[in-house]
Amino acid sequence: MDTVPFLQSTPLLAVLASLAAVPLIALSGKKPNLREFWTFLAGFIKLALILSMGSYILSGNTHTYELCKILPGLSLQFTVDGFGMLFALVASSLWLVTSVYSIGYMRGLDEHAQTRYFCFFALALSATIGVAFSGNLLTMYLFYEMLSLSTYPLVTHHQDMEARGAGRKYLTYLLSTSIGLALPAMLATYLITGTLDFNVQGIFPPDTAKTTLVVLLIMFLYGFSKAGLMPFHSWLPGAMVAPTPVSALLHAVAVVKVGVFSIGRVLTGIFGIHLLASANLNVIVCVIAGFTVIISSLIALSQDNLKRRLAFSTVGQLAYIILGIGLASRLGVIGGMTHIAMHAFGKITLFFCAGAIFVATGKKYVSEMKGIGRRMPYTMAAFFIGSLSVIGLPPCGGLISKLQMVYGAMQADMFFVLVIYLVSSLLNAAYFFPIVYNAFFCPDEEAMFEKRVDEAPVFCMLPPVITAVISVVLFFFPGIFMDFASLMVVGV
């Protein structure tokens, strides 16, 4: 084992940090402040553990920690590399912000079963970090399933009829695709190659039949349906019945990004971008993802429920990322991976704002939000910045990653992808700007808020402002995340 400037087991500890908090949270259910203290303590420890590996990884190393062997030639294994670090940093830092927001939101609405809520949130974060640091496909699958199951109580938190329906849809989509497609694809890969460890050069032997590769690729793309590629996307808008912090962290960051991350891992670590490009498999990825990008943006235009509109926007943005990585060109991969972070900060801002509006006014529909900017100026300013980032306009981080992906499309000589990027950016603008415009600039007689509406509680208002500011910071310092992404294309 090589010497590293941190404990060998740091990746495992990072996974366990929030898992260990679960019993503590459960036991202090009677004292809400103590209970939330555990969440924050675990969050800070987790973030610190992840950060402690940062400089070592940035200098071009990877760190592997093997827990135990579970199948011949296959272990439960953690590997920390650039891509994993990027994702782990995003998820763990946003967990902290979301926890602040959760307190404001859950207490503001006096929700029931808050202890259960915080327990499963911590559990879900363990699974997310587990996926980020997985050293092989099997470990990743294990944490992927753990995430599906641990988020079910969060999605169905309200325990009403609507939640039951959404929960059914959620599990039906996620479990049926992972058991029905991803698992057999993984098994077949193992039988062909004898390994499931990620390797930037790809693991398939050069003489693998192209038909096999195509079938496996498609099974993997749809098998990790957390990424919401159409037609396996409709669990995501359905899952919006969850409390807003859940939608914010899980359905804009953790759960959906785990799907995208898994697909990204398979594309870069199992197939390898060299094979994708040389066997023209990247065209398949781009067509599937490109279709999703355009169609979901069109659907988003017609949604009146703000959270549903954001959900369809997420479906589109996830497909962006897959499109970027699927281009299988250096810049495309860097752009796609960086977009995981950029989109996360932008989209979570938007969800936070939607929730803040709901807490303050009880409004869920876009058509009821005219003039709200005058009443909740901070929230809507944050919303504006978030939407800039998602559309990809300066001065927000989203521009940087989008630009990289556009360059990547040119590098891969795929001009139809370029068109997809441009058209969808316009569509993004078309479904976000009217909300902002109406919030601030509608005529007085149309404004729907006669009475003074206070801003949401400070716990709800502060997080979107923070994430909006970070979105802007990322425009000037994209290297925070892009440097990690760049590590993944070294030597390919």
């Binding site: 579970i70 699958y141 309200h158 325990q159 009403d160 039951r164 029905g180």
Partner: protein
């Protein structure tokens, strides 16, 4: 040395205890329970001892009963395969024995209003000890005829136990008795044919004799094999010979279900593997006989039939019995795939399925113990009322669905690998479809446990079903074995590599790729 006597002690202790219970504990159910617990505990300890001995030396243990030399005397032969199965059988029986402390008095009451009949519970424990003797004997013996005797011991005691159930238990058990007897007769007839041809009943001896080229083509041997295998299939409820199982197990008392459901079918699967590869040979079964493909398709059909039938049940015990029918298909199919991955999956699944089934039957039994109701609706509010039972049920359900790191995932992994390797897509698809159907079956129940009843008028008030739910768990004697079983599901999964390289892979017969 006492350690040399461990193999016979595994069987002798429960056998003698069953007499002891009848003689000494007629008036005292508590004493009967204690004797049973001690006997099965001893059996379990001896099984573990034998397993350790085997792992240390690596050599198969031969024990000649009464020091009569084989092939004439009865021989106990313990290799890696049956050492593992012995530990499973005695372990599961031990857990169920602890569990039975409170359930047996409730289900087999030793007193009616006005009169006290302590013999009833005592009789129950006697039969329990006899059943376990039979099952352990089937596993330990190296003699084909002796196996028949022990098969009948276990079968007869299980008929008696199953008939002590509720509702239509008598009728269901009678049906099982008829079918079980036919199965045993088939087996006996097959062994008889082999004896006519070879003049031997010792398994190792038979294997050597059957390898001669004259006997390979013999019609008599072929018919003997078919009779034996069909007999065993009836005993293990392999589709389409499963008709007796669902009713017999559903109407049985819950303790009996916990005891019989995980063990009887698994021991039958063990019998099949033992006879296929220790009496007949890989060459004979997969090359001389020509119906390998048909059996695997039949197994696929069993899986689909069992899963779909389970989907249609509202009674939870009945649902579990159909899942057993599907699981039997897993193991038969895996064995008949004719490659090492398939057989590894099937053998490992004996272990994991026994524990999974035990876990689920115990959890359901606990719910029935508290609510008196075996329909799915009895799970309403389970997460608040009986949180430990609910979690145990959840882990069992995850194992059945095959979610890592529970053991169900790994058996499925090997079975599907074997199916893909053999190019048997139908079987692989059946396995995956059954996983998906299991997911639907169990999440439907979990949903009932988690959500309030929207049809009931009380739910409209928006109390999220948290109204009068008060925590009311089952007694510790039931919780403890349940929790241990649930934990074992995860342990068996996490240590699957050790189990498979240390035990299962040593049982793969030479000649299987």
């Amino acid at each position: 040395m006492i350690t040399d006597q461990l193999p016979i002690l595994i069987l002798a202790v429960p056998l003698l205890t069953s007499f002891a219970i009848t003689i000494f504990a007629r008036k005292s159910p508590i004493l009967a329970f204690s004797l049973l617990l001690a006997a099965i505990g001893t059996s379990f300890a001896c099984s573990v001892g034998v397993l350790r001995q085997l792992l240390e030396t690596g050599a198969t243990i031969h024990y000649h009963v009464g020091n009569w030399q084989p092939p004439y005397g009865i021989e106990l032969v313990i290799d890696h395969l049956n050492a593992m199965v012995l530990v499973i059988v005695s372990g599961a029986a031990l857990l169920t024995a602890v569990y039975s402390r409170h359930t047996v008095p409730a289900e087999v009451p030793d007193r009616f209003p006005g009169e006290k009949i302590p013999e009833r519970a005592t009789n129950y424990y006697t039969l329990y000890a006899l059943l376990i003797t039979g099952l352990l004997g089937i596993v330990a013996t190296g003699d084909a005829f002796n196996l028949y005797v022990l098969l009948e011991i276990s079968a007869l005691s299980s008929y008696a136990l199953l008939s002590l159930g509720r509702g239509r238990a008598y009728f269901a058990t009678f049906k099982y008795l008829i079918m079980g007897t036919i199965g045993a007769c088939f087996y006996l007839l097959g062994v008889g044919y082999l004896y006519i041809k070879t003049g031997s009943l010792n398994m190792a001896d038979l294997k050597g004799l059957l390898a001669s080229s004259i006997l390979l083509d013999s019609q008599t041997v072929k018919i003997a094999f078919i009779l034996i295998i069909v007999g065993i299939w009836i005993k293990m409820a392999f589709f389409p010979l499963h008709g007796w199982l669902p009713n017999a197990y559903t109407f049985a008392s819950d303790t009996t279900s916990c005891l019989v459901a995980p063990l009887m079918t698994k021991v039958s699967v063990y019998m099949m593997i033992r006879l296929m590869f220790s009496v007949f040979s890989v060459h004979y079964i997969f090359e001389v006989l020509g119906f390998q493909d048909m059996v695997v398709w039949l197994a696929a059909a069993a899986i689909l039939f069992g899963s779909v039938s389970a989907l249609g049940q509202t009674n939870m015990k009945r649902m579990l019995t159909y899942i057993i029918v599907a699981e039997v298909g897993y193991m038969v199919g895996g064995t008949w795939l004719g490659n090492s991955n398939g057989l590894t999956g099937a053998t490992y699944h004996i272990l994991s399925d026994a524990m999974m089934t035990l876990c689920l039957f115990m959890a359901v039994g606990a719910v029935i113990y508290k609510t008196g109701d075996s329909s799915r609706e009895s799970m309403r509010g389970i997460f608040r009322k009986m949180p430990v039972t609910a979690v145990v049920f959840l882990i069992g359900a995850f194992a059945m669905i095959g979610i890592p790191p529970t053991c169900g995932f790994f058996s499925k992994w090997y079975l599907v690998s074997g199916a893909l390797e053999a190019g048997h897509w139908g079987f692989a698809a059946a396995l995956l479809i059954s996983s998906l159907i299991n997911a639907i079956i169990f999440f439907r129940i979990i949903e009932i446990g988690y959500f309030p009843d929207f049809d009931a008028p009380a739910a409209a008030s928006g109390d999220h079903g948290h109204g009068a739910a008060v925590m009311a768990e089952v007694p510790l004697t039931m919780l403890l074995p349940m929790v241990l079983t649930a934990l074992s599901l995860i342990a068996i999964g996490v240590y699957s590599n050790e189990i498979i390289t240390g035990l299962v892979s040593r049982t793969i017969p030479a000649g299987l790729l």
